[in-house]
């Protein structure tokens, strides 16, 4: 059993309190139209090719069993590229290996009142090693998890009862719209939210302000109504639309096709949050 990690950001400052190391797990059950880490959605290992600087020598095409039409993760192309433009999409770690990596920095993380943030992709989609990882890391440092809330209920319960902080995404409230833009039935997310709400674990709600899809007054108010009166709600963090969201699609040879107008400025509706007495800030 192993954990699939597509990136480890040692020095992360926008993923929880203090200075944190963020582990980005590969694999996500959602299919959000605005996803900015498309390379992190994948459950299967593929190669990523840097879109810049290719010499068109075709060495990678020649050696590929599918002529680079659909990657099977055999990794043969990685070594032949003269400019080292190709890399593997994720690495696999055992709990011990990942823990050792984190332990090297734990002193500095604690010194700066930070810790580790588990993110991705969707960390809940990892196998049960995730729980073991959380148990272990928790002994040494503050552990936070960034999640869409879409995952096995038992796993979710165990996760939130053993982390120090949950960063819980709230996106589209309307079921039909969520199915259209996010590709899933969002009822599971709300069920898990109820579990979170009735736990003792402090949490922050994160809302990506996708223009006119999520940042409508109607949708934001629905979110507020769901989350208010939670005793362990620390506040809401509004995430202005990431203008670089499309920048990594070329890595996986795909096109970014947002079904909304990227150029419209996000609407934070701060007064709405104020009206319901919810602590809110724009990241």
């Amino acid at each position: 059993m192993s954990l699939k990690v597509f990136s480890i950001e040692e020095f992360s400052i926008y993923d929880g309190p203090g200075i944190r190391t963020t582990i980005f797990f590969s694999g996500c059950p959602l299919n959000c139209n605005w996803c900015h880490s498309p390379e992190g959605r994948l459950f299967n290992k593929v190669t990523l090719k840097n879109p810049n600087g290719c010499l068109r020598c075709n060495k990678c095409v020649d050696i590929c069993p599918t002529k680079r039409k659909s990657c099977i993760g055999c990794e043969k192309c990685i070594d032949v590229c003269p400019l080292n433009l190709i890399r593997i999409s994720y690495k696999e770690y055992t709990v011990n290996e990942l823990t050792s990596l984190i332990l090297k920095n734990v002193k500095l993380l604690n010194l700066n009142e930070g810790g580790v943030t588990l993110s991705g992709g969707e960390p809940l989609s990892q196998n049960h090693d995730l729980i073991e990882l959380i148990y272990t890391l928790n002994k040494f440092t503050h552990v936070a998890i960034q999640t869409s809330g879409y995952g096995n209920k038992e796993l979710f319960k165990e996760v939130i009862n053993n982390v120090n902080l949950v960063l819980f995404d709230m996106k589209i409230m309307d079921k039909e719209k969520a199915k259209f833009y996010e590709g899933i039935d969002n009822s599971l997310i709300f069920e898990n939210f109820e579990i979170l709400k009735s736990s003792n674990t402090p949490f922050i709600i994160r809302i990506p302000l996708i223009p006119r899809v999520i940042d409508t007054k109607e949708n934001l108010e629905k979110i507020i109504l769901k989350i208010k009166d939670s005793k362990n709600l620390l506040g809401v963090e509004l995430l202005p639309y990431n203008k670089y969201a499309g920048s990594k699609y070329a890595l996986i040879n795909k096109k970014y096709e947002p079904l909304f107008d990227e150029s419209i400025e996000s609407n934070p509706y701060l007064d709405l949050f104020e009206k319901y007495n919810i602590k809110v800030r724009i990241l």
Binding site: E9, N52, N105, N112, K243, Y244, S247, K248
Partner: protein, 683 residues
């Protein structure tokens, strides 16, 4: 910034004053040689002649000003004379005293009137040479007074009442207000450059100007008024800075030191420190170059103000850690009070103001070449353990240091009477500073440390541990610049590197620095001073790289070495926490010639108050780990454009948003441009 300052600011930024300059090239050296003019007098005559050509000018908004007219400072020696002297001496920096820190405190306090009086006293029982020197000092002072008198008349005839009032006091008398002290400082700064001294560092401004600040406040001057003076003074350091020769990449070395501790070791940060940082933040000009002296007890506020400044992308502040530097200097024999008063020289080296003639950049050790020397030695093929290799490296370091010492120990400097007036006890001792002061130590940089460390690790791992290839293969590969040895090069490049917090590798860096420091401790220069080992590289990382064949860290022939105290250029980083931990493992108390770890961040890290606080916290962490010196850079537009063209130069550039990060080099080209464009409008 009020209207008046804004006018001056825009004018200087746009170089609207450059019409004032002339291209006149005066030749004095031939006259000097022909007439066998004694050296001290050459300097004072040159200053006199230059002053004669400096017609005063002020714009109506100026309250400080002073504008250089003659661009070129003529040399004091002919080419033949230089050739002759070079036979026996190291004519460092062309043979001119440079890169020291004057006793601004005393001169501004006492005025030239006091210096002249001291000269008269010393003349009473001076021998012939001493008399020549003292007269040259006197003439130099009088030349500057002459220049000031011209500006006084100009101010009078142009109704510049304030400057006129100030020039009626300074620089003949000591300053009696912050404004007068600032005018005095500018005059000294201007005069030193005119006198042919380079890299005139401005010292501990917030300390020696503080008494005037306090006094002014008592008299009812407001902080806003003081701030205005500081801004105008800072702008004035940029007026002629394009005429000043650079020490590296256009950097003329006008470093200004803030913070630190007082002579008792107590925190010396004050309100003036804060005003200076705020002025620099608002002006965003390349001079003065802010250096911040900190320690692990320095409150976070100062690290945060420093980080705000870093965000502007000017390349400063540079942080120096008092906890390490002061102790290191004392270990090397500096007096504790002097060590506590240290300033930063033009680049990063630690020197003592008022009493130091340390030359902290006489040469540089070429670390990767040392490793190559051992690889290409006849003993290499018989080595059966890595320890034998390390022993040979140790011997080679000692050999190289001895070479450097022999090449550099006999420095010759032309007398600089005016500069000597500004240093302690030169008038009293009747001796020019060029012959030496209280401290006469030399410093050696240590270039390419990371390449050498990485090479050692690669050799240990692949040859001695895993036997992946033979010694002969390595020698062949390096000789042929890896042509035909593609896989071997890849193995070397993929071996563990210094900067990824791997103990086995970091130990090797510790070893190299320790041996370097040890080797230096065995030698003295011709002035009885010691040699200090450092971790800087200056431009040697390019120069040495150009002349070095391929190295065992996978580097190709001719490629630059690592710059200063940083990982090698193509190093793929695990992250900044790893870098900081690696680079604070060596005993940095042994390398007090200085040389900063350089970290570069994309400006998305400084986006908001939270980001600033956390980056400041990271700097403080480095200090806490006993790092000695740190330079934090915000990537600017030029660097991003370069990263687009040469991604191999910036493999670790990461762009960050909440919950998302991307390696700049991997992002779609269109988005790269987007990011670059945003930088133009950010902040």
């Amino acid at each position: 910034m009020n209207k008046r300052i804004e006018t001056i600011y825009k004018r200087i930024l746009n170089k609207e004053h450059s019409f004032l300059r002339n291209d006149k090239k005066i030749d004095l050296a031939n006259y000097f040689e022909l007439n066998n003019v004694p050296y001290p007098i050459r300097a004072s005559i040159r200053l006199k002649v230059l002053v004669q050509n400096e017609t005063p000018f002020l714009f109506k908004e100026d309250r400080i000003g002073f504008y250089r007219r003659t661009k070129f400072i003529p040399p004091l020696l002919t080419k033949e004379e230089i050739k002759e002297l070079s036979k026996n001496y190291n004519l460092f920096e062309g043979g001119y005293v440079t890169n020291i820190s004057s006793d601004y405190e005393s001169i501004i306090k006492n005025g030239f009137k006091n210096s002249l009086k001291e000269i008269e006293n010393s003349l009473l029982n001076a021998n012939k040479d001493e008399t020549i020197e003292l007269i040259a000092m006197k003439d130099s002072i009088n030349s500057i007074l002459e220049l000031v008198s011209k500006y006084r008349d100009y101010a009078k005839s142009h109704d510049n009442i304030e400057l006129l009032k100030a020039l009626n006091v300074v620089p003949f008398n000591g300053a009696t207000s912050f404004y007068e002290a600032s005018v005095f400082l500018r005059i000294l700064n201007y005069s030193l450059w005119l006198n042919g001294n380079k890299h005139n560092t401005l010292g501990r401004f917030d300390q020696y100007m503080y008494p005037y600040f306090l006094n002014d406040l008592k008299k009812g001057v407001t902080k806003e008024e003081i701030f205005e003076i500081i801004e105008e003074l800072f702008i004035s350091f940029n007026i002629d800075s394009d005429l000043y020769p650079g020490i590296q990449q256009g950097d003329n070395g006008q470093s200004l030191v803030l913070g630190g501790v007082d002579k008792f070791g107590n925190d010396a940060f004050n309100e003036l420190t804060e005003l200076c940082l705020k002025a620099s933040l608002e002006l965003k000009m390349i001079d003065p170059k802010i250096n911040l002296r900190v320690s692990k007890n320095t409150p976070s506020k100062w690290f945060e103000l420093g980080t705000l400044l870093t965000k502007e992308g000017l390349g400063f502040p540079q942080y120096s850690n008092d906890d390490v530097v002061i102790k290191s200097l004392v270990n090397l024999g500096y007096d504790l009070e002097d060590a506590r008063d240290y300033v930063v020289a033009a680049c990063w080296e630690f020197i003592i103001p008022k009493v130091g003639l340390d030359v902290p950049n006489v040469g540089a050790l070429n670390f990767p070449k040392v490793i190559n020397n051992v690889i290409f030695s006849k003993e290499f093929k018989d080595m059966s353990t890595f320890d034998e290799f390390l022993n040979a490296v140790k011997k080679e370091i000692n050999k190289e240091v001895l070479n450097l010492v022999n090449q550099t120990k006999d420095i010759f400097y032309m007398p600089s009477p005016f500069q000597s007036v500004l240093m302690k006890d030169c008038i009293k001792n009747k001796k020019d500073c060029c012959f030496g002061l209280k401290y006469n130590n030399f410093g050696l940089h240590g270039a390419g440390l990371s390449n050498a460390t990485d090479a050692l690790e690669a050799i240990k791992l692949n040859i001695f541990d895993k036997h992946l290839f033979s010694k002969e293969e390595l020698i062949d590969a390096l000789t042929n610049d890896f042509i035909g040895f593609h896989d071997l090069q890849k193995t070397l490049s993929n071996s563990p590197k210094f900067g990824n917090n791997i103990d086995e590798v970091d130990t090797l860096a510790t070893f190299l620095l320790h041996e370097f420091s040890n080797a230096c401790s065995k030698h003295k220069n011709s002035r009885g001073g010691i040699y200090r080992a450092g971790t800087g590289s200056a431009m040697y990382y390019i120069r040495y790289g150009e002349n070095l064949i391929a190295t065992a860290d996978g580097r190709n022939k001719g490629e630059p070495l690592s710059a200063n105290y940083s990982p090698s250029l193509s190093f793929k980083s695990n992250g900044v926490l790893s870098v900081i931990q690696s680079f604070t493992k060596p005993n940095l108390f042994e390398v007090c010639n200085g040389g900063p770890l350089t970290l570069e961040f994309h400006d998305t890290l400084f986006r908001n108050e939270e980001g600033i606080k956390k980056v400041a916290s990271l700097v403080k962490t480095f200090i806490y780990l006993n790092g000695h010196q740190l330079q934090l850079n915000a990537i600017n537009k030029e660097k991003l454009l370069e990263a687009q063209k040469h991604p191999e130069k910036y493999p670790n550039l990461i762009v960050r948003v909440w919950g998302w990060s991307g390696k700049f080099n991997e992002l779609d080209f269109v988005y790269q441009n987007h990011i670059i464009k945003r930088l133009e409008y950010s902040n």
